[in-house]
Amino acid sequence: MASDKRSSEQLNSDPKRPSDHFDAPVTAVTNPRLGFVGYLRFFWRQLTSMRTALFLLLLVAFAAVPGSLVPQQTSDPNGVIQYKADNPSWSKVLDFLGVFNTYSSVWFSAIYILLFISLIGCIIPRTMHHINALRTPPPKTPARLDRLPGFLRTTDAVTSEEDADAGVASARALLRSSGYRVRVFDGSVSAERGYLRETGNLIFHIALVGILLSVGIGGGFIWTGQKVVPVGQSFANTLSDYDSISPGRWFSADSLEPYKLTVTKFDVKYERQNLNAYGDIIDYTTYVRASQPGTKTVNETIKVNSPLDIGGTNVYLLSNGYAPVVTVRNPAGKVVYTQPIPFLPQDTNDTSEGVIKVPDGLAKQVGMVGFFYPTECDTGTCGVAPTSVDPSLTNPVLTLQVYTGDLGLNSGKPVNAYSLDPKKLKLIAGQGSGKAGLTLRPGQTAKLPDGLGTIELNKVIRYVGLDIHHDPTQLWVLTFAVLVFLGLITGLFIPRRRVWIKAVRRAGKVHYEYAGLARGDDPRLDDAVAEIARKHSQLLGLSMKQ
């Protein structure tokens, strides 16, 4: 009976799975005295147990929640500023806990790193065990099949020894052709299939580690930069030409591949048929001429959802707006300033705000805060305060408030191009100054107060806000994600099962018995055993009792 016992142990245990895996045998808890190594081993076993994995998984889910309720520095920096202004004291607590940077905080990292250590500690022994299992033939046929799932027995029997052996041989052939790995014992066939289930499961878990490593290691090579380009102007991929850049840890300016993009045209399509959506934007297209040293200049387009892949970077269209082109002249009529100024859209009708800074060439430094209305509503309909009623460039108006004083450009500190610090400035035209602000339509010129000079609105063009990204992790992450998915399907839906066919002698006659054993979820086990029993008994011309 010793062999019987061993085989039933083999049936149930899967020693390299964590000891609290559902299928693992219950091991008696012993309390040996633990030395240092013993403690380490105990700790390691705890960390790599199913229960710990489950706990850490649920902890990750739970720990991710606060960061979704509070704006995050990385994805929504303005939201963070607003939130801190609204809840000053509570924000201090959150700041201390790193909740505004949840996903790179120490505690969040600690949890997922522990989880992945546990995962690796789980994968390694299981992989070794699985490689072994792949090389090991199926286990011995159990002594009795009648207590196993799907058990069936033929009612007819064969009598001759040759027939009995032939039955076993045909059982072997049948199981093999059904995709089972088989092993013939004396009077029985033991078969197993679905090793791919475990392979898939391991690939799934290993690929998860792959994703984490790709992001963790590759993340230092990612950099992203921003550049605002008015139509007609160019962007060159050199460090000095970026408006801003956030370099990864391993970024070096030498790694920028030289290329140049000239924005030739920017098209916007508005909805004009559907009155429920009148004026909604239905398409943006940026036309660029792209040139790289040693290659021909080509025409390309950049759209939302369709970035341009060039020189090791992807170029995305992330924003756009109007850029009034203004010319400022001194009292002698000499041009001291002329350029397009990108204005930031403020609402769906593209009312936009922008700042003009003229530091040199006039008697004083001049700063202007402007509002731009692409389609100004006539005062009869909308009242005196200018409003835009459509985002298209139909009836454009630019209004300006004028300041003089220190623009703060000489201090060497970086200043925001889109705002004016009024501390050292004096308002000389516009509400609150006693003088009316300036109002300009394309082609019009207005006098600056105090005889400072003139300003002309030449025309209004478009600009595009481009994001330039270099992300070498993408391909790796994608590859591992595909493996995660394939591994998942294989690991979940391929049934791993054992099937036995046994010739049993009873009163000098040989009956055949069939049974199976599921290893993991296997809803169709009984059907599968029945199908094999049906085919086999048909081959032998025997009939069956259910």
Binding site: V26, D467, F485
Partner: protein
């Protein structure tokens, strides 16, 4: 202008379809509920005669209740007849099928009116996802009698259709550039498939908890409802399919995010919640493989997971304005 008129007609037809579907679902709900009530009272059937020794009976309050007897009942006892396929449940099924045809029709018309797939805002997504829930529920019937879930499923869908038509409704408008992508077709549709499977899995888990609790109290199982173990196995199979769809949704969403926003992952609120849901269900799958966590504990995880799906779809869409502001509200 002619185009606009036909579009307006289609939109109205679509709404008529949805409202009619809601009416018929309501009928189905009534019949399913009636059927459930009957099953419950049958399970609570009081035995008038004195309890024989060989029949194990337990006292609950003042009422003796018969355990589910193994084999034929002993002479002298009448065991509550179990209506396996009651008339009212069958009516419920017929109405559900009718309602579903109207529902799918209304959803398709909405897509035709918009000239694109009908899942580009919360209103449309609700129409599609609820149609999928009912679709999966109906298809499952070929495999396993799930009529006991009829009241839950039709009730759930009715509530969501009601909220969608009154609170989520938006006119047909063209897609903003960010949503013009074939990933909208794939990503969002697979997300609704996942939602459908999770929803049914969670429903089975709820019934599983009820059955387990009744069994623990020694009460009769509810008539013609599978045992807790059977329900757990069914729930697992549905949830695992849901998990595969959800994994795909997560991957497809990252690819789309890369195209549209220039990064595949940015911890945007919607991304975080999709991730949380994924991790909870990974936990569920693990729980089912961990000793001591099968049964009611893993069922509870499934229910929490689906609650997170609903939270992600309702609260996150409405109150958190991340990049995913596609609700149209």
């Amino acid at each position: 202008m002619h185009e606009a008129v036909t579009q307006a007609t289609l939109v109205t037809d679509s709404l008529v379809g949805i409202y009619s579907a809601m009416f018929v679902y309501a009928l189905a709900f009534i019949f399913f509920t009636y059927d459930l009530a009957k099953r419950m009272s049958a399970a609570r059937q009081v035995i008038a005669a004195p309890v024989a020794a060989e029949v194990s009976a337990k006292r609950v309050g003042q009422v003796a209740v018969l355990d589910r007897p193994a084999g034929p009942p002993p002479p002298g006892f009448e065991v509550a007849a179990r209506p396996t396929r009651s008339f009212s449940a069958r009516l419920g099924m017929i109405f559900t099928v009718m309602a579903w045809i109207l529902h799918v029709g209304g959803t398709v018309l909405r897509g035709v009116a918009a000239g694109r797939v009908p899942w580009a805002n919360m209103f449309e997504f609700t129409l599609t996802a609820t149609a999928i829930i009912i679709g999966v529920f109906l298809v499952m019937q070929f495999w396993q009698d799930l009529q006991f879930l009829g009241a839950y499923v039709t009730g759930f869908v009715l509530v969501f259709l009601g909220v969608a038509t009154t609170n989520f409704y938006v006119d047909v408008v063209p897609l903003p550039p960010a949503l013009q992508s074939y990933w909208l077709v794939i990503h969002v549709f697979v997300a609704s498939l996942g939602t459908g499977f999770y929803g049914l899995g969670a429903a089975l888990s709820i019934v599983q908890l009820i059955q387990a609790r009744r069994a623990a109290k020694g009460l009769n199982a509810i008539g013609a409802v599978p045992t807790a173990e059977k329900l757990e196995a069914l729930a697992y199979r549905l949830i695992v399919v849901g998990f595969v769809f959800w994994t795909f949704t997560l991957i497809a969403g990252s690819i789309w995010a890369e195209h549209a926003w220039g990064r595949y992952w940015g911890w945007d609120t919607k991304e975080v919640w999709t991730f949380i849901v994924w991790v909870i269900f990974a936990g569920y799958i693990h729980a089912r493989a961990t000793r001591g966590w099968r049964g009611s504990r893993s069922a509870t995880l499934a229910i929490i997971g689906f609650s997170a799906v609903l939270f992600n779809f309702t609260i996150v869409n409405i109150y958190f304005h991340g990049l995913h502001s596609y609700s149209g509200l």
